[in-house]
């Protein structure tokens, strides 16, 4: 019987392979959406068999809530099934790593990456039960494959005992909530990217440009709907981020004797908080709603990724828990 950490590594690579499969399926889904859209230019067959008139001017066929009318996306279904399967392996990898270490599996960069991506996929899959965001599948699966692959091949460290500063209940709370916030903000980011693409397409259609952009966008919700969704994810992520900041300060007070000291990681957590605060303001400011605020959301998540990777690995500070020497 191999030891738990070996099982963890094995299941993790299995999960990466399955996620890669999901990525391919989702990519085919987007490609197919492009081609079916072309075929349906003339007539749109509804799911109940009735025939609807073709959408005018290349506008997506929307129902009264601004959602595209329900269509069957077979490849997307395969993608989602693979995501669920991959997630189960991923979960196994995470739990066995935790059991092997005898503690929560998020105490060094390798483990943060593993648990953080687990939560990104979880947030995505849970959201799918309520809102059809499968068009984000390529993005989410691609992001997870890249992050997990990089972590598993470059950041892997063997299980070592916790260093003293990490022996705290706040490790469980602070780091977990931070990872959850990242998972939610990732979806907000992806939606803002889609919003920018959609907005460009809508503008080009309005200008009468022949080739308005990728055809799969026609099966996506319109700009306003995408923006509202992005905002809803971002505000939830923002609340979690605020909590992370406060919980981290309480922990810092116990571990380092001060609740705030502009340590590199603290500084970046603060910068990210301010950027998202700016995004929420921007959306309520005339002239900033729409594309400018979407860019702010994207900048916010870029900073999250920067904080998670570059700051962890290359910046010197008190939060040097990557486990890499």
């Amino acid at each position: 019987m191999p030891d738990l950490d070996s099982i963890s590594i094995l299941t993790l690579w299995t999960a990466i392979a399955i996620y890669a499969g999901a990525f391919i399926a989702y990519a085919f889904d987007l490609a197919r959406r492009s081609s079916t859209v072309k075929a349906e230019e003339r007539m749109l067959v509804m799911s109940d068999g009735t025939v609807a008139p073709a959408p005018v001017d290349g506008a997506p066929a929307l129902d009264d809530k601004g959602e595209p009318v329900k269509q069957r996306f077979v490849m997307a279904r395969i993608g989602t099934s693979l995501m669920v399967l991959g997630w189960l392996f991923h979960l196994t990898a995470d739990i066995t790593r935790g059991l092997a270490a005898g503690r929560v599996p998020w105490a060094n960069l390798y483990e943060f990456a593993m648990t953080g991506t687990l939560l990104i996929v979880l947030v995505f899959l849970v959201t799918l039960t309520r809102i059809d965001l499968r068009y984000l599948g390529t993005f989410i699966s691609g992001l997870v494959v890249v992050l997990l692959g990089a972590a598993a091949s470059n950041f892997y460290v063997i299980v070592t005992p916790l260093v003293d500063p990490l022996k705290s209940a706040w490790l469980v709370i602070h780091v977990f909530v931070a990872s959850l916030a990242v998972g939610i903000l990732a979806l907000a980011f992806a939606l803002s990217v889609m919003q920018l693409l959609q907005s460009r397409r809508e503008r080009r259609i309005a200008e009468g440009v022949e080739n308005a952009g990728p055809a799969f966008l026609r099966t996506l919700p319109n700009t306003v709907r995408l923006e509202n969704l992005a905002y809803r994810f971002a505000v939830v992520g923002f609340i979690f981020w605020t909590f992370t900041l406060i919980a981290g300060s309480i922990w810092a007070q116990d571990a380092w004797g001060r609740y705030w000291g502009f340590d590199v990681k603290e500084t970046w957590t603060f910068i990210i908080w301010v950027l998202y605060a700016g995004y929420i303001h921007a959306r309520a400011t005339r002239g900033w709603r729409g594309t400018p605020s979407a860019w702010l959301n994207i900048t916010g998540f870029a900073s999250v990724l920067f904080n998670f990777t570059v700051v962890n690995v290359f910046f010197k500070g008190l939060h040097s828990y990557s486990g890499l020497s």
Binding site: G257, R258, V264, V274, H281, T285, R286, L296, K316
Partner: protein, 563 residues
Amino acid sequence: MPQDGSSAASDPLRPADHIDSAPVDDSITQPKLGLIGWLRWGWRQLTSMRVALILLLFLAIAAIPGSVFPQRSADPNGVVKYKADNPDLFPVLDKLRLFDVYSSPWFSAIYLLLFISLIGCIIPRIKHHAKALRALPPRTPARLARLEDHRSVTREATDAASAIDVAEKQLKALGYRVARYDRGRVWSVSAERGYWRETGNLVFHIALVGILITVGVGGGYAYTGQKVIVEGQTFVNVLIDYNSINQGRFVSDGAFEPYAMTLNRFDVTYQGFGKPGAGQAGNFKAHLSVREPDGTTTKGAVEVNHPLSIGGDKIYLLGNGYAPTITVRNKAGEKVFSQPVEFLPQDANMTSLGVVKISDGMPEQLGLIGFFYPTAVKLDSGAFTSAHGGLNIPLLTLDVYEGDLGIDSGKPVSVYQLDTNGMTKLNGRGTDVKSIQLQPGETADLPDGLGTVTFDNEAPQGAKDFSQSVKRYVSLQINHDDSAIWVLGFALLALAGLGLALFVPRRRMWVKATASDDGAVHLEYAGLARGEDPTLAAAVDDLVRGHERLLDAAASRHPVKGA
């Protein structure tokens, strides 16, 4: 009264460029502005959403250099190193305050402007909201059908007035504030809910101001000091006994509670050889005896993550190291120096560097630079290194310098550093004499027949190994900050306010009944979002369904006459 259901009295007051404010027509040619006019204009700009947003973005950007350059507050050694590595660039960057970003004038200017903008924005909003909390929901719009979320139902054999009575009760039960607007053959109820949204928003922003003020004021009453204590030594909490201290400007020199702490023992464990993370130190624990000002003595321990509270102070464990006891005798055999010397750790295996300064009792002043290796191993180069943090094969090497220690010039000198300018090296690399190498209990001659040096073994009689041969020291931080709990309180208040401001929907609902001659009633339902409200449509649907159920129930109990 505008027809779209908005209401100046009960809508939250917002800056003119807020997306939910009525657009202002800028095209009007304004008269020339006087000084007051310009001031008003400036104030309006500062309190606008746009400027607040730009200041927020400036704040984010301005915080970045502090993560790129080492900061004096967080990493003073990094600043010293940066200065040594970039002697030309350093003065320029220092002028720009890039090593004190968060106390620099430009950073302060941004956040102060931001907070002035914030206060200027929320004070009128608080006044307005206080009024809105008492105001009645606005009059029912004449044409509800113009609202986006609008439903209409025609009900036979229903009394219009009592249908609205039912709706009024229903909305009240749902937490709405209601007002009746009946006119002629049209009955209607206007309802509004979600005042907590604006309350939460204001609480959030007020709490941020609270954090800024408590941090600013509280810092004046706080102090943070560091003290190094060797096993067996005692620290008394008075100003002069600190190694270093940062006093808030309102902390008087006599404000310290005069308790005393003795370090009885310092515990540390190491991961065993051959295990993952071999040699990793952990479970640091400083065992202290505390004598309170009233004379009672208690035992306490300080661990990482578990500070010790004494009075209003908190004691933190910052670091630890070895303090080899060194005794120096002169040619005549008189003790000129004998005490534990704190060595500063240089690596994870506790290779440590220390300095002994002897100002009296020798022909000339003497300085010793020593390296201590708790588990000494010899590298191929001939140099020593430590292979483990524990006391397995302790070794002390000493180089001796003779000359002027520079401690009589009045300039402050670190006890951990030896300025060898103006001193002559007597042994070690670069001289003909070898470095002194000592194990605990051993004595060696100083060069030039100056006397002897002993590395005292502190282990009790009959000890079998070296594990207790060298004393340890801890570096403690003593903190006093009564404002921290207030900062936390405001932070939690901000979090609560944020939750309310982002998730409580502010919305209006109207139910209108128009009676027709044939006894039927035309019922209209409409909802209007005031701010983000993704579930409004569903709420209107629920209202329609609930109302129908209540009317059906009422009808079965009291059938309308003539039906």
